[in-house]
Chain length 278, copies 4
Amino acid sequence: MCRWLAYLGEPIQPSKLIVDTPNSLVAQSLNSPLGAQTVNGDGFGLAWYPDATAESTPAVFRSIEPAWHDENVRELSRAIETPLFFAHVRAATLPPVQKTNCHPFRYESWLFMHNGVIREFPRLHRQLALAIAPELFESVRGTTDSEVLFFLALTHGLREDPVGGLARAIREVEQVGRAHGIPYPVQGTFAISNGSTVWAFRYSSERRSRTLFHSEDVTTLRMLYPEVERLQGYGEQSRVIVSEPLSDLPDAFHEVPESTVAILDMNGYRHEPFLQEA
Amino acid sequence: MCRWLAYLGEPIQPSKLIVDTPNSLVAQSLNSPLGAQTVNGDGFGLAWYPDATAESTPAVFRSIEPAWHDENVRELSRAIETPLFFAHVRAATLPPVQKTNCHPFRYESWLFMHNGVIREFPRLHRQLALAIAPELFESVRGTTDSEVLFFLALTHGLREDPVGGLARAIREVEQVGRAHGIPYPVQGTFAISNGSTVWAFRYSSERRSRTLFHSEDVTTLRMLYPEVERLQGYGEQSRVIVSEPLSDLPDAFHEVPESTVAILDMNGYRHEPFLQEA
Amino acid sequence: MCRWLAYLGEPIQPSKLIVDTPNSLVAQSLNSPLGAQTVNGDGFGLAWYPDATAESTPAVFRSIEPAWHDENVRELSRAIETPLFFAHVRAATLPPVQKTNCHPFRYESWLFMHNGVIREFPRLHRQLALAIAPELFESVRGTTDSEVLFFLALTHGLREDPVGGLARAIREVEQVGRAHGIPYPVQGTFAISNGSTVWAFRYSSERRSRTLFHSEDVTTLRMLYPEVERLQGYGEQSRVIVSEPLSDLPDAFHEVPESTVAILDMNGYRHEPFLQEA
Amino acid sequence: MCRWLAYLGEPIQPSKLIVDTPNSLVAQSLNSPLGAQTVNGDGFGLAWYPDATAESTPAVFRSIEPAWHDENVRELSRAIETPLFFAHVRAATLPPVQKTNCHPFRYESWLFMHNGVIREFPRLHRQLALAIAPELFESVRGTTDSEVLFFLALTHGLREDPVGGLARAIREVEQVGRAHGIPYPVQGTFAISNGSTVWAFRYSSERRSRTLFHSEDVTTLRMLYPEVERLQGYGEQSRVIVSEPLSDLPDAFHEVPESTVAILDMNGYRHEPFLQEA
């Protein structure tokens, strides 16, 4: 339903990944070969941390113009440098298209973005909104299923335990959904960051989730593809997690397995099972 | 906080009232002398019924561009004719500015618009949202205090009894607000229509409400101002209710008293007390 | 590069053709199977005449939101009725995407829209702009090749002779283009109206033009497809000319031949050769 | 007609000047006491250089939303740091409001912005457009008088001699204007930068130009106002040139005289006469 990208590594211009690669996120806004929809023209968001330390507050730029023709996206993503950013292009499951419905969503120093859906969300919306902690309720700014899931995860302790917080939120949505007769309520890939670590989840109630990939080490890539010039522009610690590969270089991207969370920090990736029990 | 206009009468081009008068609603978007703010540049809405019979569904055009420079507003308001329309320019008390926050709000064949505020709405939002009938909850599309008030009024029977429905909704907001220590929770003027009647309310908890006016009969106006050419363009049954006068012709507009509802149908106006008891 | 639709016939809600058909123009904004690009998300325009008499002035609504998610498009196209309208979804060859670059273009009572391109327009722009009659120059509001072509046609007498005016304008562009070493300067389909007749052209310098179709008579269609309910919603004189068919009903749409102008008025279509000589 | 601000000094978050001062540029978008219009809600632009060396290319962010409610303006201006930036809020003399008409205008490493008008520009537009060097013509992206003046100045050698280039461009506009019977064709204040110097002009044909001010030295200001905390957030070399003062601290801003150019670099200001001869 959407496409997203998360980067952690040496400070970089986001444009190098979201504009200047063959299958960049901006290119995917017009044509994403692996997407549930091929067009992701219902809004764009870019959130970036000034430095890669926990607790710094990210800036967020949002636009309802299709990313492929929004000149601000190009200007801005070339003018900044950041060690950790999230970018997202939206294909709206449901209207309305408005900035407050553009991912990534931010709460204090935390970011969240999502590709996927809470099925039959209009039927579940009220009950899920009520399950958000009252002190968080007014910080919900838009009307998407994704943002409600983020605030449910915050309610369930995301800030102390990101994996557990999201797991408990998904379980709650599944419980509410099944009570409404919806067999597979949750579908998607999810990204969370606190400014120093990225948690990227692949999970769906039916165990057939949207695609998710992370990049090979840059040093390995440079050995594999000495002729690809743009690889020289990335730092050695540069790593991205993406809905679909940014290029068709074989071995440049590895699929994150079903029901798994990929945890990325300055030391690299590690995978952990996520909600693998029934 | 906003300016609005409601028209009922012979079919008319809305432009005649919202563009082509000295202090038209579009002019008020840039400069409204009687407004709590003088600039109402945070969105525009126009809703119009195809005919003046109850139960027809109005169309709604919304824009987040300031009305004074939105060419669609001029084009559209000249191209249509309608016997009953609502128009509104917004000065946002709270962000965000987005189409779903532009008045008038519509539910089935009903329209609602508001100039004013529910005070400290962020503190009351969750409790008021919960008070909306569950089957109506998902039809709330934006995040304004005004739309919540509309859906509370629908919950309290607006469709059967517009005056009573709004009265009960306001009382509920006042009760919730006072429980939060807010002495004067509700402020404003309000307009409701079902397609054949317009109810226009002036009310605030502190009994010092935003301004509200309705027009003198066109035949009287023509006698008073035989030299004012644009009066010839209005039908004999043309009547408008407005936040502030569209011209400075003396006696062209009459103030609606405090705590009063002006009820307008094809037979003209009548006033009734509204929430005058403490 | 774009998709368009022109309608002439009994007054109709434009939504019946641009929203509520299987391959409607709004559907084509997201996916146009026959298009040079499949996505036409760079702006929308709707221009409609109040009646089908020459010299009435059409209204124009323009939006830079993709048509597939613009709620104003749905609202407006359902709320109006018109005997003659043009609608257009844009896939921008060149930026910028802005309302002044959205087709249809209007000059007095005339409308123009285009699917195609003047090749290497930036190199030709200045010379072509200078060729516009000085008294028309300031009425050019945007920066597209299409609008320049329209004003060249106006300069060359479009208002007295639409077919000759456009033919001379195209010849001028071809001459200027070839002087710059561009072998095939003009490509496209073009639509012109004065409010009572529609001229629809298929022409390109290389004689391989974008697709263009017109509809079969409604009475014939109803005999062919008695089970297709929406055909009952069209008047007997309803005719559309389109970049690509609105449905896959065989025989519902006929291709306009290369280098041909289809002339449509209340009496039906006729074809004439257009710039068939070398 | 507009309000603008140019900053040169130690790298700074633009928000400190355009958001977080009592009469900030964003505040002036809603209410500019000294402006020809008090509302400047017809677009916003921010252009910033990555460093204060000549020949670096500035980034440009543009928005047609009123600056006072555009959350991207706040986010972005807080997230970047720059030693030299231009910011502008527009009050459109003429439509259309679109990003390509938002100042500052950029050509290569040069920036230009303007508060004022070329009078009766529609009558002069064609002749002035033709006077732009043919090789620059296609780089004109919008339709404002201001951008045409910038490209005339580029045509007349702005890149080699900013003061002389603008002087010759203004003289050309005055000549063309007077040939059309316009006694006072040019009005305004103008800012130019190459990335290391700012040239700020106050000039009008009638010698009664829009207001222009530059700031007192920060060290002086701190001595004058030891209690004003935000002064501690500025570097010692921080200097701004503005359409109107950002605060009402007496002596914080000095008026630039009529027919004068204020030249600002890292060494401070100097004034030179500009077109003082008749």
